[in-house]
């Protein structure tokens, strides 16, 4: 057996164990604290208790969304940083989040969000989809010759949609503004179970597909020319991966709002500890992203309990400080 494969397996199992323990802790803590042995007792024996309902209906979906969104955003970060060979790129750089925010704010201003439960994510998805389509059609018509230009155009689209977003906010009524602002800051709460499971499945599938391309990502990070000369179909691999990153980001943003920082920092953090082989980086970023977001959400809902902070604030604050600490210590 290959030594690297053994190391990979160990990393994978350790991270999974951490993810599982963190999830258990997140299940037990909250406005109503439930101790560990109580937790297991309730889960197996008291299916009709209030505690069981809180655990299964409120806390568990949040944890699942945390894993799905944290994983998806980190994965998108890994892909984009490797494809653009730029450490500062993150899932929101290409303007996908701006598009989603625009879609959501329009739906709120026109009171379309009261139509049915799924309308906010639905409009977020449409907004994100419009941005993705416009970037790819520019790419397909040969307007964009190289990756740096694609990146620049993404940044410009991001600015344009942000300005439009601001415009809509400034024109909206104050209670609508409140909904929009709160959505923008991000939350892992998602009452619709179908959406939670869809998100989780999309995100896990994304992780599997990206894993298949992890060796190609290693080759791609050598640069386009070297990758070409090593027999890689650069264009094809790059397009698949970019579309993958867009879908992952689009889904996450439209369901949980804009949760900054995860996609930028988790990949760096993982590389700091596990090296830059994408076979490890991809799977480790996915799980670490999940762990990180669950912990941030735990903080967000317990620190000023029974009130709740937007999770986006916590990810920025905690993530930034931890990252600077890790960077200085290494």
């Amino acid at each position: 057996m290959n030594q690297k494969a053994i190391k990979w397996g160990i990393t994978f199992s350790i991270l999974l164990i951490i993810l599982f323990s963190v999830s258990l802790i997140a299940l037990s803590m909250g406005t109503m604290n439930i101790s560990m042995d109580q937790l297991i007792w309730i889960l197996f024996n008291q299916i009709d208790s209030t505690e069981y309902t809180i655990l299964m209906e409120i806390r568990l979906p949040r944890i699942l969304v945390g894993i799905a969104v944290g994983g998806a955003l980190s994965l998108a970060g890994v892909i984009l940083q490797a494809v653009f060979r730029n450490p500062l790129v993150e899932p929101y750089t290409l303007g996908i989040s701006g598009g989603a925010a625009l879609g959501v704010s329009i739906s709120i201003v026109f009171s379309l969000n009261q139509l049915y439960a799924m309308s906010l994510p639905f409009f977020g998805m449409i907004g994100a989809g419009c941005v993705i389509l416009s970037i790819y059609s520019l790419n397909a018509f040969g307007v964009i010759h190289n990756m740096q230009r694609l990146l620049l155009i993404g940044v410009m689209i991001s600015f344009i949609s942000n300005s439009l977003f601001m415009l809509i906010i400034s024109l909206s009524k104050s209670e609508q503004m409140h909904i929009i602002m709160f959505w923008t800051m991000g939350s892992l709460e998602e009452p619709n179970r179908v959406l939670v499971y869809t998100l989780l499945i999309v995100s896990l599938l994304g992780c599997m597909i990206t894993s298949i391309y992890s060796v190609d990502l290693n080759i791609l990070s050598l640069g386009e020319e070297d990758a070409f000369h090593l027999g890689l179909h650069v264009e094809r691999v790059r397009n698949i991966l970019l579309i993958m990153a867009s879908i992952l980001t689009g889904f996450s943003v439209s369901i949980s709002g804009i949760i900054g920082f995860v996609g930028l920092v988790v990949p760096h953090f993982v590389r700091l500890f596990f090296g830059s082989d994408h076979r490890t980086v991809i799977i480790a970023s996915y799980i670490t992203g999940g762990i990180f977001l669950i912990l941030c959400d735990l903080l967000a809902r317990t620190i000023i309990s029974p009130m709740e902070l937007p999770v986006g604030i916590v990810t920025g604050l905690v993530g930034g400080l931890i990252f600077i600490y890790a960077l200085v210590k290494k």
Binding site: N2, K4, V215, L222, G223, E225, F228, H229, L230, G231
Partner: protein
Amino acid sequence: MKNYEQKHAVLSVNQLSCWQSSQFQLKNISLNISESCCVGIIGPNGSGKTTLLKAVTGFIPSKSGRIYYCNSPIESYNKQNLSKEIAIVLQSTELDQSINVEDYILLGRNPYRKRWQFWESEQDIQAAEAAMRFTQIESLRFRQINALSGGEKQLVRIARALAQDPKLFLLDEPTNHLDISHQLQILTLLNRLKREKKMSIMIVLHDLNLASEFCDEMILMRNGKIVIMGTPKEVLTCQNIESVYHTQVVEGKNPVSKKPYVFLVSE
């Protein structure tokens, strides 16, 4: 006689032209490279030397003319198979990633990766080890590549290309920015590749005397065209050099190897 040569040509280029926005980059290039032969390409900056190498690998698409590798047109090879045959060491590759030397060299085994293969096979690791042994960088095996010196980096790049196990080896100014001992080390290495592994080598060099010392044949280029192709003795004449580089030179001989030597004359 001509037929015989054709048969053993590893690479033969026929009337190759490349242009971009109506400007010629290469114009009617024809050449043959036979087995275990080292061909040096010289010429002023911007004369199309690098473009020629990249046109051979297909990275820069040719607009007219044909390229044959081992007597079959280059388009008949799929991308992965071609990169098992032809390896290139580019000038521009920056080694700034934080991976170790062994992992970097293993990336050179990509052409041999099967469709769903996730981990390197035993064969890949052996090939990487052989490449490190050949370039004498076994001691660097676990070092990070961004912490290596310029000379070591160049050897690591060459080792990665060797892990591809190519028959035709293209190098773009491999001795740039290196001190004379490293220059000599790299060119000696290429000489060994030629002799021991029967590799054919195409190398872009700026140093005319190094080229004369190590190459069996030389190509002098200007403005995307071949001015002359032949042995160092035929190419490195005062007349050729002066007409291409517009610089005054004096011909001489290396006192040890008796190869042609070009002295610069300052005005």
